[in-house]
Symmetry: C2
Subunit: 239 residues, 2 copies
DNA sequence: TCATAAATATGTAATATTTACACATTAAAT
DNA sequence: ATTTAATGTGTAAATATTACATATTTATGA
């Protein structure tokens, strides 16, 4: 085993200057839930080549911010929201994905409560679309959206994300509707309740639904503290 | 609801030219398995500032390749391997993560069979390290490695990745050692077997281990075809 | 006011899965 | 041939999941 070592690099600034550089954006896949449907927040593309097509909310990443900060910034600029759920999903790097040249984009997934957070701005027809109705979008945004949707489907089975889509206080029926809509399945009401109660992170608020056509259901809150105490830790090999 | 639309952008090339650009690298977290330990392939950093520290295998992304292609390229250049497992894990974007200026990096996780693939090159002391022995590395590579390790721990419980770390034909004891080492747990031999047989994607080769100190175990192969037929499809909410 | 409708709320038996545990079998080493 | 140290398999108990039925509550409208 021989090893020919080269001299160590001292001038790291020159080294980095020698790297090719690329344009980088973040795109936010902002999900909401309304009328028992999973929604995604979109605007009309402002590129002539994609005239009329829908686009995710994005922007290029600035010099001094992390990508997460950039994603939060986009979210804030478009919705006025801070303190919302945000998670990195994937980076998309096909060389031809942007008509203006090479632009990579990092997809961030965000979940928010449509009811609680009204859109401050309505530029470019910013509004909510049914996730399942979309079949064409600007750039590779359909692929990004679908990748994010699959990510969400998997993720809500394993982590308590879904609550970000609901008001602070919600009924179990609302929670079940959420799961059924996102996973595209029908679930047994009784077993669904049993499952969530057994996970033991729901707090009974003592309050009830209002303005509902029939018997109001109890309202619950998600307790992150109880979740942290009780969350499953064990190994479960299964695929 | 008012909407003031701006004129559509026609010159996309100028648009992209106006974006700030960043240096972007890929870093490969290449895992192997030997002596019942999870290993990661590292080299000595070639930066003076990180003299003596261990570094992941990385390179900047070239103009015309996708990041995945860049990661495969790094892998090939360092190990001579093609046709190996590779998955994107995360992008790291802290502004100060590189001493030479802003450099983002995308982590790719790769799994390969150490025995079957000898390292072609041994520059910069390229070799395998115990994952659990590392407590300091160049750049933010320790964080990247640990994020990738956690990713792997979760992933091998849900997907048949682990086989990439083993020879084509392996005994169930080897497979169990792999899971125990990666997940850092002890598993019951009988239940482990039952579980893997019930998933029904292992093919009995009829062959047996050789050069083993005691009674040789049967050798099995992983069948991707059988896996695709039998893999779980159902919904399982649990967190 | 009372009957009806439509939802909430809860319990239980059957089934499937996971866990804990013990003994027989095989081949290498001496 | 005997010992040793593995492999290989079975089974009962506990747990979790599934399928399914009935009682309760409130809004509504006759």
């Amino acid at each position: 085993m021989s090893s020919v070592n080269q001299p160590l690099i001292i001038d790291t600034v020159s080294l980095v200057a020698s790297y090719p550089k690329v344009a980088l954006t973040v795109d936010c896949v902002i999900f909401g839930f309304e009328d028992n449907k999973l929604k995604v927040l979109l605007i009309r593309s402002d590129l002539a080549i994609y005239k009329g097509k829908w686009s995710l909310l994005g922007d290029f990443a600035r010099e001094s911010e992390t990508l997460e900060e950039a994603a939060y910034r986009v979210l804030y600029e478009r919705t006025g929201m801070t303190d919302v759920f945000l998670d990195q999903v994937h980076i998309f790097s096909a060389p031809d994905r942007h008509p203006g040249g090479r632009v990579l984009t990092v997809a961030y997934c965000s979940l928010l409560d449509i009811r609680h957070h009204e859109l401050k701005i309505t530029e470019n027809e910013l509004h909510w679309h049914n996730v399942t109705d979309l079949d064409t979008m600007a750039f590779d945004h359909l692929e990004i959206m679908q990748t994010s949707y699959k990510w969400l489907q998997k993720r809500i089975q394993e982590h308590p994300l879904g609550f970000n889509l609901l008001p602070e206080k919600f009924s179990l029926r609302e929670l079940q509707n959420l799961y059924e809509a996102i996973l595209n399945v029908e679930l047994d009401r009784r077993n669904f309740r049993k499952k969530f109660f057994s996970m033991d992170f729901l707090i009974d608020t003592g309050e009830f639904e209002e303005d509902v056509k029939h018997r109001p259901g109890k309202l619950y809150q998600f307790s992150f503290e109880k979740y942290e105490l009780n969350k499953r830790k064990w190994v479960g090999i299964d695929f």
